[in-house]
């Protein structure tokens, strides 16, 4: 049985730049900046003071509420400042700056594995929260929240997102190739703890290596399946993935957990396996550095908090002709104005584009061609929404389901008049919220 989600777009994948490059570890640098609000929800609260010495992996901030998570030091060193710093997205966020101790070995103090089998569900959720684990696909939504079910409800299916539908990015693909055992361990832990009946790993068919590797490994494992999915953007969006795997159109008023599904990114599950296996909290992540503006594209393990500049330096620096730098994928990523901002938990990639990709655009009026409607996976009318946004008629936009938009950018991608539809919609959402 094959399902698919309707609409969507087929951008050029450009994954060949990095797909065959094994994951490398970047060396430690001198300075790390850790924004306290790098996950969705309430910011974390610092538990260290300026001048204090910290160990690598030591907790430096605690969750600021239930929908919030902890933060750990990526290096052994000294807290130099706790003050607002420029974060991805351009705004200033309260951040902890840590300078690495040049004489420290940066070796992790080995911890015994955590006996996750004997944990209750509450304890398990608490562990995940205090390990600072979030969705590593880009949204950085605290993982433990997805596992906390209202009374009387239960997760039946664990849906693992290995779609990696953003062009250029290959970090999840490499992870599935290089650490299938860790991924399956993470799946086993979460599946067991939540009491899910079945786990399904959805992978787009442009990653045959990952599909084969995982299939070979799960032969013996009960009730874990790999489901190949036809390549289409935005396959990795939660509701689209559920549609593609189960053929079920999740009502807009419901969350996946309301129908007993928990959706997890592959990297998050590996993070969970690593945490329970060696006590390693989330202090590093895998990113793809790619695009025509990067001298040596790569897949890297990067400590959270590493300045962008250092990561790019490791990759041979930016080419002269670089026009724009993006954090995340090319469809939903954030443009970067300064190379001094840090890698955060939600950073899945750094892309540098030259003229070739970052062509300057000339916006024409909407010719009502309908391409944006055919692209929108949420079946909205982006043309109409864009028009209303330009006229600042935000109230009318609600009737056109403004809030259903997931900001995937498929409409902007498709628009032949190069109207920045998703940008208009995003602004309208923000402004109508403020009123």
């Amino acid at each position: 049985m094959r399902h698919r989600f309707s609409h969507g777009v087929h951008p050029q994948q450009n994954k060949e730049l990095t797909v065959d490059l094994p994951i490398q570890r970047v060396p430690f640098v001198g300075r790390y900046v850790l924004p306290l609000d790098q996950h969705l929800g309430a910011p974390a609260q610092a538990t260290v003071n300026v001048g204090e010495r910290v160990r690598r992996g030591q907790r430096i901030a605690r969750p600021g509420g239930f929908v919030s998570t902890a933060l750990h030091s990526p290096v052994t060193g000294k807290v130099m400042a706790i003050e607002p710093r420029r974060a991805p997205g351009g705004k200033f966020s309260p951040s902890i700056e840590i300078h690495a101790d040049p004489f420290a070995t940066q070796r992790l103090t080995p911890n015994p594995p955590i006996d996750w089998l004997s944990l209750t569900l509450e304890e398990f959720i608490h562990h995940i929260q205090w390990a600072g684990i979030v969705g590593l696909g880009g949204a950085a939504f605290p993982s433990h929240v997805k596992y906390s079910m209202p009374e009387g409800k239960k997760i039946e299916y664990l849906l693992i997102n290995g779609a990696e539908c953003e062009p250029y990015l290959t970090n999840d693909h490499r992870l599935m190739l290089e650490r299938p055992d860790a991924l399956l361990q993470g799946i086993a832990i979460v599946k067991r703890k939540l009491g899910a009946k079945r786990a399904i790993i959805g992978i787009e068919t442009n990653k045959p290596g990952a599909i084969d590797t995982l299939r070979a490994q799960i032969k013996r494992i009960h009730k874990v399946d790999v489901m190949p999915l036809p390549v289409k953007y935005p396959q990795g969006a939660e509701r689209m993935l559920i549609k593609a795997v189960f053929g079920y159109e999740l009502p807009a008023t419901k969350l996946p957990r309301d129908i007993g599904i928990a959706v997890n990114n592959v990297s998050s599950l590996v993070a969970i396996a690593d945490y329970f296996g060696s006590g390693l909290p989330l202090i590093e992540r895998i990113i793809t550095v790619s695009g025509s503006g990067v001298t040596y594209p790569a897949n890297l393990i990067v400590p959270i908090g590493t300045p962008l500049r250092e990561v790019l330096r490791f990759c041979g620096g930016l080419r002269e002709a670089t026009k724009s730098v993006i954090m995340g994928g090319p469809m939903m990523g954030q443009p970067i104005g300064s190379l001094d901002i840090p890698i955060v938990k939600g950073t899945s990639g750094i892309l540098a584009f030259t003229e070739k990709e970052a062509s300057t655009t000339f916006e024409l009026p909407c010719i009502r061609c309908g391409r944006c409607l055919a692209a929108c996976p949420h079946f909205l009318n982006p043309s109409r929404l864009g028009r209303l946004a330009k006229a600042r008629r935000f109230d009318e936009m609600r009737a056109y389901r403004l809030t259903d938009c997931v900001e995937c950018g498929a409409c902007s991608y498709a628009c032949p008049s190069e109207i920045p539809l998703v940008q208009l919609i995003r602004t309208a959402k923000r402004e109508s919220h403020q009123r």
Partner: protein
Amino acid sequence: MKRSDPRLIVRPAPFLKSAMTTQQAMLDVLYALIPVIGVSLWCFGLGAILVLAATVIGALLTERLFSPASQRIPLRMDVSTLVTGLLLGVTLPPALPLWMAFVGGAAAIGLGKLVWGGLGQNLFNPALVGRAFLMAAFPTAMTTWTPYQGPEGLFTVYSSNLAVPLMNSAFDGVTAATPLALIKFQHETPPLYPLLMGNIPGSLGETSGLLILAGGVYLLLRQVIDWRILMGLLGSVAILSGSLYLLDSAHYPNPLTALLSGGLLFGAVFMATDPVTSPITPKGALFFGVGVGFLVVLIRGFGGYPEGVMYAILLMNAATPLIERITQPRAFGRGGDT
């Protein structure tokens, strides 16, 4: 700071863009039109080309002179105005005085587009607005059709082409009845083959069904036009005129003739499918196509004109906002409640 970073342009995601641009879509329409224009040169000679040039100049000049600076598109990018001029020109009789053609081009852009607020804002198809304007202003000239000339007439310039503006002048003596006029007023069924090839009396380019269809296929493949409009239109004409033919084959043309004659194919491929003036919603597009087809059969069969495509499309243009409102897509995960 040591060496300065490259100056980064900060603009919002997405950073990828599909290959199709509005300009490219207009160019595709242009490419699809070229064979049709070629055949009009073949059939009606140089005069035909002069008429086209006049409408295009009229359109471009009006756009350049009267469009507000805020919405002006650089000339080299403005394929849209060129296409409007050509589309209008192709629907005109080959012997039309050039000054009238020029006025038509100006009316198409002025009344059909600029007064509405420019590209993308107009309710009615601009080329058809220009044609409707000419029909109202110069009914005789607009319904005087010249016969097929063939290669001997390649360099023919009709004397009426060169008529002095606003003076009453005689039209070329040899006029010919279009196939639809034959059916309507003389109940004669014209042979099909010339309809396909184009050697029939008619307006400049609406004569060769085969080349128009080829253009249509190209535009469909490039996804520049919506198949729902095209299929809805052709399908409903075929079914409706087929039913009429079955009822009374003496009065009504057989469905194939109905499809191939007059401006129907041309209107279906190049006019009804204009994205600006047809519904943006998929369901609406189908509805629109069927509506145009229905009105064409209605006007041709029961109205006073032998030809009904222009009015059918203009009427459905007017209905487009309404159609759109009732065919808004239902959002994902929102069941039946629209």
